[in-house]
């Protein structure tokens, strides 16, 4: 019966930049491959659907002890998560994570950014961090820190144009990751400064 197989322990969520992973300790059975199934329960299920549980999209009968639950945690409410071990027909009791997980608590890291000067043009390249993230890019002329300008960048498929620069002047850029769905931002990336091309006659 089920009693022979212990429930998975040490169940927790690792969440960074709106990517959420459930992890747990393996259930060891000598010479056997134990598999696991994961289910989730949102606030709606608790309050309006008799506390029902829903199988996750990626982790049923998986041998891994980590599960990508990003697709399933798709609202900003408190979720509960549970894992069960399975060995053939034998199933363990459910191991339920202590407490709740709300994606609003995800940890946000500053973006990888590269500021570029192309002639008189200030440009920025940002590493893609997934569809739910966008970037607030701040830029200013060095020495005019009080006149910082901002641009929200959603598509990061290529080099994004920020502004045109005055000849020979130095401009600085920094950016933070922003998630509209939870209305939170990361800390800023280190500032990078680039210098605009010198005077206009240089095209000759």
């Amino acid at each position: 019966g089920d009693a022979l197989l212990p429930a998975p322990q040490s169940i927790s969520v690792l969440s960074t930049n709106m990517k959420h992973f459930l992890t747990w300790s393996p259930v060891i059975v000598q010479g056997a491959t134990v598999r696991y199934s994961v289910e989730f329960q949102g606030e709606y299920e608790r309050e309006y659907a008799n506390g029902s549980w829903i199988p996750t999209s990626e982790c049923s009968l998986t041998t891994a002890t980590v599960c990508n639950i990003t697709e399933d945690i798709s609202a900003t409410v408190a979720y509960r998560l549970r894992v069960r071990a399975e060995l053939g027909a034998t199933r363990s009791p459910w191991g339920t994570m202590k407490g709740f997980f709300n994606r609003a608590t995800t940890s946000l890291t500053p973006p990888l950014l590269r500021a570029l000067a192309d002639g008189h043009h200030l440009l920025v390249e940002l590493a893609d961090m997934g569809p739910t993230l966008q970037f607030q890019v701040l830029y200013w002329r060095k020495g005019q820190e009080s006149r910082v300008r901002q641009k929200v960048v959603r598509e990061v498929s290529s080099v994004v144009h920020l502004d045109t620069m005055e000849a020979g002047a130095e401009y600085c850029v920094k950016a933070q990751t922003h998630v509209e769905a939870i209305n939170r931002s990361s800390s800023f990336s280190p500032t990078q400064c680039v210098r605009a091309q010198g005077d206009t006659s240089v095209w000759l």
């Binding site: 192309d118 002639g119 008189h120 043009h121 440009l123 960048v153 959603r154 598509e155 498929s157 290529s158 080099v159 994004v160 144009h161 045109t164 620069m165 206009t200 095209w203 000759l204």
Partner: protein, 213 residues
């Protein structure tokens, strides 16, 4: 006439194909039927109790029927249906899925016009218009239909092969401080966040900045 015994195979893949809310019903001929099949079409506004025949698409042998006029109110949703006839027998009525003109249309890229001086290019973008029944009718830009509409603009320096990307809300963009005597190629895309609708990128419009005086 008496009820026909409908043993003809059904028209297949009955669906709306919509671009800029020009909503055309398309289907494929019943399997195994050669020439000579005729069709008739009806449509219904979802939630309203009756099917309406489309006279211009009665006893037609083509496999499409323009229902743009009948489905032009994009605050409604629609169904359409097709029946095939051949040699005195007929098929069943075959229906589309529910069609929502607002979310199920595709959007053409914007029109792009570019002009240049020696050191700058000016780009004017024009969103496509919603389909209209006749030239006399008032034109409605898709900008009015999708208020959150934005433009993504790509500018390629043909000499350095560097491509820059702009995301703008209004329809004009001036890129100053460019290299004189250099060819720049511009293409643009329409981006609507919600409902999520993106056009493709337009063809590239290339223009050379004037040689330095």
């Amino acid at each position: 006439s008496g009820q026909l015994y409908c043993s003809l195979p059904n028209p297949r893949n009955v669906r709306f194909e919509s671009i800029n809310m020009k909503n055309v019903l398309h289907w494929s001929a019943p399997e195994g039927t050669g020439d000579g099949v005729l069709y008739k079409v009806k449509y219904a506004v979802y939630g309203v109790g009756k099917w309406i025949r489309k006279p211009e698409c009665r006893n037609i042998n083509r496999t499409w029927c323009d229902l743009s006029s009948e489905t032009s109110d994009y605050e409604e949703q629609y169904y359409a249906s097709v029946k095939a006839f051949l040699n005195g027998t007929c098929s069943d009525w075959m229906e589309t899925t529910r069609f929502n003109p607002l979310t199920d249309t595709k959007i053409d890229p914007p029109m792009v016009s570019v002009s240049s001086t020696d050191k700058s290019i000016s780009i004017i973008l024009t969103a496509p218009e919603k389909w209209k029944g006749s030239p006399e009718e008032e034109s409605i830009s898709l900008l009015q239909v999708y208020p959150g509409l934005q433009y993504n603009v790509s500018v390629l320096n043909k000499k350095t092969k560097k491509r820059w990307f702009f995301s703008i809300n209004n329809n004009t963009l001036v890129v100053p401080w460019l290299e004189p005597g250099t060819v720049y190629c511009v293409s643009a895309q329409i981006h609507v966040t919600t409902p999520l609708l993106d056009s493709g990128f337009s063809e590239e419009h290339c223009i050379a900045t004037l040689k330095d005086k």
